[in-house]
């Protein structure tokens, strides 16, 4: 048994107008929860679908549980569970009918009724899929992924568009799967989701890996654990940050400046004094501990959710 559950080397997939995946290397250990992070169009979905054996790569190697899609497709399908980004399950079927259908595809797996209880869907077992809420649908999609008792779970944006409570319920599903030793690969553009669930995170942009590590390591790479966000009237010039103690850089965001600093206690008084000296007036000021979002902004100059 190889220790890598998922392995890919020099993965490339070019479409006519875009390099969706451009030389990606990943190795994900068995039992690990790994997050692929990036803005829309970064190549997350293309990557995960290549790994799921649904999209052929232009070049590069993929090994899942030591097997390849070309040689061992059927055996692999028995051992992985997938939730696609935008599958609409048949609306006219009930929850239980849907899950029994998916169960019938696998040689071994969970009892559909038990699984529905585990996912708090047993009250809805006879409800039509078309009548479910967004959160219930996502849990049913997760149930369909889990029903074959997989070793690896692939989740493509499992909580996009869900309310906070539904999101917590789904996180709970993922964590319980991990407690039983399962490996998880998920894509997301929610930072807190990655920080909360993932052992390691890869940030990708334009099909390239731009950062890889545990959430704490990655945030540590920022060299600056705190972010000061402020606006002033008139705005300050761009080189102002060089005068502040322990400041590592400044980025613009929606008309305000974001400063990355070592210590709030040192930087904030000096910032206020500087604004005063410049004959400017502070309009807004807020601070927070650095997140993966800040890392992404500092790496690319753009925001993750560049909606």
């Amino acid at each position: 048994m190889p220790s890598d559950a998922i392995l890919c080397r020099s993965l490339k997939k070019y479409y006519a107008d875009v390099k969706a995946v451009d030389g990606l290397e990943l190795s994900i250990a068995a039992g690990e929860c790994f997050g692929l992070l990036g803005p829309n169009g970064a190549g997350k979905t293309t990557t995960i679908e290549i790994l799921e054996g649904l999209t052929p790569a232009d070049s590069g190697d993929v090994e899942i549980l030591g097997m390849t899609w070309r040689r061992d497709e059927r055996a692999l399908r028995e051992r992985i569970g997938i939730s696609l980004q935008e599958t609409q399950l048949a609306e006219k079927l009930t929850v239980l009918e849907t899950l029994r259908l998916f169960r019938s595809f696998y040689r071994n797996g969970h009892d559909p009724d038990e699984l529905l209880r585990d996912l708090s869907l047993d009250e809805k077992r006879d409800a039509r899929v078309g009548k479910l809420s967004g959160g219930q649908r996502q849990r049913l999609a997760a149930a369909c992924a889990l029903v074959g008792d997989p070793d690896i779970l692939f989740l493509d944006e499992p909580t996009t568009g869900l309310d906070p409570q539904s999101r917590l319920q789904l996180w709970d599903v993922v964590q319980r799967f991990r407690q039983k030793g399962g490996t998880v690969l998920l894509t997301t553009h929610y930072m807190e989701e990655a920080e909360r669930l993932c052992d390691r995170v890869a940030i990708i942009d334009h099909g390239h890996l731009i950062a890889l590590g545990t959430p704490a390591e990655l945030i540590g790479k920022l060299e600056a654990p705190h972010i000061i966000e402020f606006t002033s009237e008139p705005p300050l010039s761009e080189d102002i940050w060089k005068r502040l103690p322990g400041c590592h850089g400044m980025t613009a965001k929606n008309g305000s400046w974001m400063l990355r600093v070592d210590s709030l206690a040192d930087a904030v008084p000096k910032l206020l004094a500087t604004i005063d000296e410049q004959g400017s007036k502070l309009v807004t000021l807020s601070t927070h501990a650095a997140t993966l979002e800040d890392l992404f902004v500092s790496l690319t100059g753009r925001e993750l959710r560049d909606a």
């Binding site: 799921e52 054996g53 649904l54 059927r74 399908r77 028995e78 997938i82 696609l84 935008e86 599958t87 609409q88 399950l89 048949a90 006219k92 079927l93 009918e97 029994r100 259908l101 998916f102 169960r103 019938s104 595809f105 696998y106 040689r107 797996g109 009892d111 559909p112 009724d113 038990e114 369909c144 074959g148």
Partner: protein, 347 residues
């Protein structure tokens, strides 16, 4: 207690069947619509005595005598009209023949391209000649044919059955598959260990059930309401319906094998079905088409099916006589299915 796990093929078939039955509109179009169509057409073309044809006699000295003579004919409704009115009535088709008199005798004015006008002219002439004393030299009498199997509804019902089998066969495949592809359900299914052949086979299996039901409903309806009998073997009729239904399922699979949207499917379905609605002898015999295109028409799957259905229902044909057509239908179905499978787009 864990529930038992049934084989994927059975689950897929049962799910497909339930989905269809829960789709109220689909149930109507498959079962209700053909019945309504058969009912409407059956009544429109029900048996009744031949219509009497209106003819006009121009006002004049001979008019009264001619009107009396024509009134004795069971095929004509004569009336006296002024010259100008009669011309107008003829032009508008309100009368089929205008009867005038000139120096040489009686003049029949009519459009010879209209069959009922030619018949009315003949009837009018007979009535007028007999009234003046003509005797037939050869004794003759008529025998009227009204046998079951020769009425319009007897011709129509197998055609409707064929049309329905084509529509439900094509749409039964087309709609579900295109819909599942659009909603990425197909993609989700191929991400499991499901055998692709199981999925397609389940579509065919669940069709079998509906095929038997829709055939039975339409045939029973024709028999109960219009007395349309199946003169041949019921089993052979069932076999013909199943072969025909599956041929169209195969063609439906090919039609939908690559389409990405319901609009594209709908367009292609119509492109394939409309020519057959017109040419394949549903409502009228294709014998009226020119000789040169008939071989093509005869090879169309709906023509093959309609001919086979009429042979069994109307002419009591046996398996040996129908076999060539069933074989040709099976070739249509199998070849379409294999090509469709080859080029099928799962995502």
């Amino acid at each position: 207690m864990p529930s038992e796990v049934r084989p994927a093929l059975i689950e897929l078939t049962s799910v497909r069947t339930k989905e269809f039955l829960r789709e109220t509109e689909a149930v109507f179009w498959v079962f209700g619509f053909p019945l309504i169509l058969a009912l409407a057409l059956g009544f429109a073309f029900r048996d009744k005595p031949p219509d009497r044809v209106p003819v006009a006699v121009i006002e004049g000295p001979a008019a009264a005598e001619q009107l009396a003579a024509l009134s004795k004919s069971p095929a004509l409704i004569p009336r006296v009209m002024k010259e100008a009115d009669a011309r107008e009535a003829l032009r508008h088709g309100k009368v089929s023949v205008v009867i005038a008199n000139d120096a040489k005798g009686v003049v029949y004015r009519f459009d010879p391209t209209r069959p009922e006008a030619r018949v009315a002219r003949q009837d009018a002439d007979d009535a007028l000649q007999r009234a003046r004393g003509r005797r037939d030299v050869v004794p003759a009498h008529e025998e009227h044919v009204r046998e079951q199997g020769a009425r319009y509804i007897d011709f129509l019902l197998p055609g409707l059955l064929g049309m329905n089998l084509m529509g439900t066969g094509m749409w039964g495949m087309g709609f579900t598959i295109a819909n599942a592809r659009m909603k990425k359900l197909l993609k989700r299914l191929v991400a499991t260990p499901m055998r692709k052949s199981d999925y397609l086979l389940a579509q065919f299996l669940s069709r079998l059930l509906f095929l038997i039901v829709e055939t039975t409903v339409l045939v029973a309806f024709g028999w109960l309401v219009f007395g349309v009998r199946v003169n041949g073997s019921i089993l052979l009729l069932m076999l013909t319906c199943i072969v025909g239904g599956y041929a169209f399922s195969g063609i439906g699979l090919l039609t939908v094998s690559r389409a990405k949207t319901l609009e594209a499917v709908s367009g292609m379905m119509n492109l394939i079905m409309v020519p057959m609605w017109i040419c394949s002898g549903i409502f009228f015999s294709y014998e009226r088409f020119p000789e040169t295109v008939k071989p093509v028409i005869r090879a169309l799957p709906l023509t093959l099916l309609n001919d086979a259905l009429r042979m069994v229902m109307n002419d009591a044909a046996g398996l040996a006589e129908v076999a060539p057509r069933l074989l040709a239908l099976a070739v249509w179905g199998v070849v379409s299915f294999l090509i469709g499978l080859k080029i099928f787009r799962w995502q």
